[in-house]
């Protein structure tokens, strides 16, 4: 056995239960890695004491022969979009800098109840708006990966869950939470060679997660293996009466039902996802993925999702519209940032507070959202976008009459360098082109690594499933994982 910090969640769980090592040893190992990785800027707040406290509780419970939780002995990272009682929660914004919730989000609470310990609050794009982590008020996260070109360009870890992806691939934590509005779990997972699943909308409660776009936001796990994702997702899911959009359904036993045997399953390959000019290496990886799934026993058919080309514009109307309203509560009146210039009235306070509290990308989206909802433009933008959204969902329904799952690339390229796309928001938005449609349709979708490109950077695949059929998504991802044999890891330079 090598380093404890190289173990997967399943290995830590099982090894701890078997008495191979103590939970404290595991927590100490990860705490040390976190402390030594400041260069990655993956954490906004480190909470080694919380990781140790959970570990000690797990060790004590095990020694006393008490029942152990599903994640006893496992320390994890928590995206700083989840409100954590007593620990600063910022959404990577200046607006919420210093905000310490008096409450615990449903999902994080479930993880702690299952025995997990918190290593810290992970950096992200500000209010989860971004695809590179460059919009964080606390500085961008750096990917542990570097190109093999000898240059030392700092690469984007993806976004918005870039702290999570960077920390997992650098072995700062075995798993972490993410949230996904248009690809914020899947794209960073793809950029860093890990896996992550966005479950069906409504599987995980949104209660206590700082809202970006309510009709799209969904929490999910990120980890290095499909099995680990299944383990975490089981804990994170479940009906929550405090979230009206939460699904009142039992949580399936995804881990127990993992199987990479895809006999009898049909995989759809959406032709619209292979546009002219698609990156050749991404395209080749996709072809390899198709072969892997065939090898696992699946049939493969071409399907059509004709409204795919409208997905990005639709998303960039709906998400900013909801965000412009969701972020109205950050007004300086009750908590968080308040800028009160001398002699200022209420309107001046709003303006000063929001000017200082929000970064440029957040402001851009608030302005877009305000515009598309305003009188005279509402029907042309928002109403139209909702109609197209329904058509996109319908595309998937029709495709799923012919197949059980879809295989697509996750992102149109491997990780880009920090700063490369920052000047052009549209180029940045295009990063979500493959992930956004499943978000608009509320479908479960998972990113799983497939290999390295010629620059030595991870590229991956996306599996999209029918609503509520996370099992097939996990199983197909497992089939890919087994065949890809992805063991690459970034060389430690930090």
């Amino acid at each position: 056995m090598g380093e404890l910090t190289d173990l997967t969640v399943a290995e830590i769980r099982d090894g701890f239960r078997a008495g191979d090592f103590s939970a404290r040893e595991v927590a100490e190992g990860f705490n040390a890695n976190v402390a030594a990785a400041k260069a990655l800027n993956a954490f906004i707040v480190e909470t080694p004491e919380k990781a140790l406290a959970a570990a000690d509780a797990a060790d004590k419970a095990r020694a006393a022969g008490e029942p152990l939780g599903a994640l006893s002995g496992v320390p994890i990272g928590m995206k700083d979009l989840f409100c954590t009682e007593g620990t600063q929660t910022t959404a990577a914004s200046h607006m919420l800098e210093g905000f310490v919730p008096t409450y615990e989000s449903t999902v994080s609470g479930k993880l702690w109840s299952a025995g997990a310990g918190m290593l810290g609050k992970l950096n992200l794009d500000q209010f989860a708006m971004g695809s590179s982590n460059e919009t964080s008020y606390f500085g961008n996260v750096i990917s542990p990966w570097r190109r093999n070109d000898g240059g030392n360009a700092a690469l984007a870890p993806g976004g918005s869950s870039g702290g999570s992806s960077s920390a997992i691939s650098a072995r700062l934590c075995p798993a972490a939470t993410g949230t996904d509005t248009g690809g914020s779990i899947r794209q960073p997972a793809a950029f860093t060679g890990i896996s992550g699943i966005k479950p069906t909308y409504g599987r995980c409660s949104r209660w206590g997660i700082v809202a970006f776009a309510s009709s799209l936001d969904q929490a999910g796990p990120m980890a290095r293996t499909v099995r680990d994702n299944a383990i975490l997702l089981e804990v994170m899911s479940g009906f929550d009466p405090r979230d009206s959009t939460s699904l009142d359904l039992p949580v399936p036993q995804w881990e127990a039902n993992l199987s990479s045997d895809l006999k009898g399953k049909t995989v759809g390959i959406p032709k619209e996802y292979r546009p002219d000019g698609l990156n050749a290496e991404i395209s080749a990886m996709w072809d390899r993925g198709i072969e892997w799934l065939k090898d696992a026993g699946a049939q493969v058919v071409e399907v059509s999702l004709p409204h795919t080309k409208y997905a990005l514009p639709t998303y960039y109307i709906i998400a900013p519209a909801e965000a412009s309203s969701n972020l109205a509560r950050y007004d300086g009146v009750r908590y968080g940032q308040r800028d009160l210039p001398d002699g200022a009235g209420l309107q001046d306070m709003y303006a000063a507070t929001r000017a200082a509290g929000f970064g440029p990308e957040v402001k851009r989206r608030i302005m877009i959202g305000t515009y598309v909802l305003s009188a005279g433009f509402y029907d042309a933008y928002y109403t139209q976008a909702q109609k197209v959204r329904a058509l996109i969902a319908r595309d998937f329904e029709l495709a799923f009459e012919k197949c059980d799952l879809l295989l697509t690339p996750t992102a149109p390229s491997a990780a880009f360098a920090l700063g490369e796309k920052q000047a052009d928001p549209l180029a940045m938005y295009l990063n979500d082109v493959f992930t956004v449609p499943a978000s608009l349709a509320g479908l479960p979708a998972m990113a799983v690594p497939g290999g390295l490109d010629s620059a030595g950077l991870p590229i991956g695949l996306q599996v999209i499933g029918k609503a509520l059929d996370e099992q097939t998504v996990l199983n197909a991802s497992l089939a890919i994982e087994e065949r890809a044999g992805f063991t690459a890891r970034p060389d430690k330079w930090w």
């Binding site: 809202a211 909802l373 305003s374």
Partner: protein, 500 residues
Amino acid sequence: MTESTYRIQGATGEWEVVIGLEVHAQVTSNAKLFSGAATAFGAEPNTQVSLVDAAMPGMLPVPNRECIRQAVRTGMAIEAQINKWSRFDRKNYFYADLPQGYQISQLYHPIVGEGAIDIVLDEKNPETSTKRIGVERIHVEQDAGKLMHDQHPTRSYVDLNRSGVALMEIVSKPDMRSPAEAGAYLSKLRTILRYVGSCDGNMDQGSMRADVNVSVRKPGEPFGTRTETKNVNSVRFVMAVVEHEASRQVDVLEAGGKVVQETRLYDPDRGETRSMRSKEDAHDYRYFPDPDLLPLELDDAFLEECRQSLPELPDAKRRRYEQDLGLSAYNAATLTADADTARWFEALLAEGARIQKKSEGEVAKASANWLLSELYGALNRLGKSLDESPVGPEEGAELLALVADGTISGTIAKQVFEIMLETGGRAPAIVEEKGLKQTSDTGAIEAAVAKVLADNADKVAQYKGGKEALFGFFVGQTMKAMQGKANPQVVNEAVRMGLS
């Protein structure tokens, strides 16, 4: 149905007033519309605020079933269409009393559609003076908090106790044509809400307030431009707003000006309205469906339960009081105008019927008269409301039973009632204790009559000379001599005998 003849006389002729009301009624519920926080009136500032009401990051609304139920029941009480599918929208604007930065309301798909309320303009002739006022819709929405500007020299304080409290917005059609109709509509609406129990109707506590839309036109012409006077909090003020605003608009128009579509405020001290903001600087509320909430879908069982739980409504009750109980139109209207009064009356009736072993119809008239004259008179004097009455329906029924069975006279009953009010004692015991039982002892009464006639020989002569009105004088004197305790019928008979 009646046509209003209310007109404003202007220099250029007669003007007709057109009025529509948007009434905000706080839903009676222990919890807020989307949070579990309490809703009691008058609590210390910011003591009834949940994380949701304060719009903390990540907090989500969950509809409170009881608030929805009350809105549906209210809709049913005005015979409105209940929409089994409705949806919540966000109304976006910034203000310090609005923590979310938006109010959750229902613009596009309200829970209750069209209904109607019948108002009565002359309570003595309800059937001929009834006018039907259309209700456009009822939707539910959140209330905002309250700013307090008098707590600090340079700062304003925010009290979020009301933030998130459920309101029904009840929007009438522009069907009213006079201040009296507007007042009658608001009173009737309040009566219905109190009957249903969906709003306590306490306008002085802000649980009910009206936005008054007023325009004027020459009779027969299309609607004029309207103004909206916000947050008017009494029936009297609503009538005053209509009166003032209509004549103001007539003055503007007759001076060659135009009425500006704007929001106005009523100043009760000056009895006038003034401009608050015009349409030009009106907010763009950017309404859109609240993505935190699923559409509200009501099933048949829920609707049936709502329907079953409705009480007898004021119009039905008024008709029953008139037709089945034989009360006058006026008494029936007065007793049913308020749910509490009707409840009190019905308790009195039930108890009276039980004690006297009669039907409710047989005891109704005496009960109604006693309640409306004796009890109301006493309560007025004491400055108390009906629910603070020192005498309850049971005690009242005992008193009335003593009159009905001839144990005491009406005159004695008044005395007994006074003693009951003062001491809290019950009528049978007081009558017993004070020896107030009416006597039918013919011997004693005949002796008293004989004495009265002997003492007033001159009047007896006048009576016999044809001044028959003196009969009452002899009865009165006899009653006085008997200290009011004589049975009036026996006295009448004895006087007649004595004079014949």
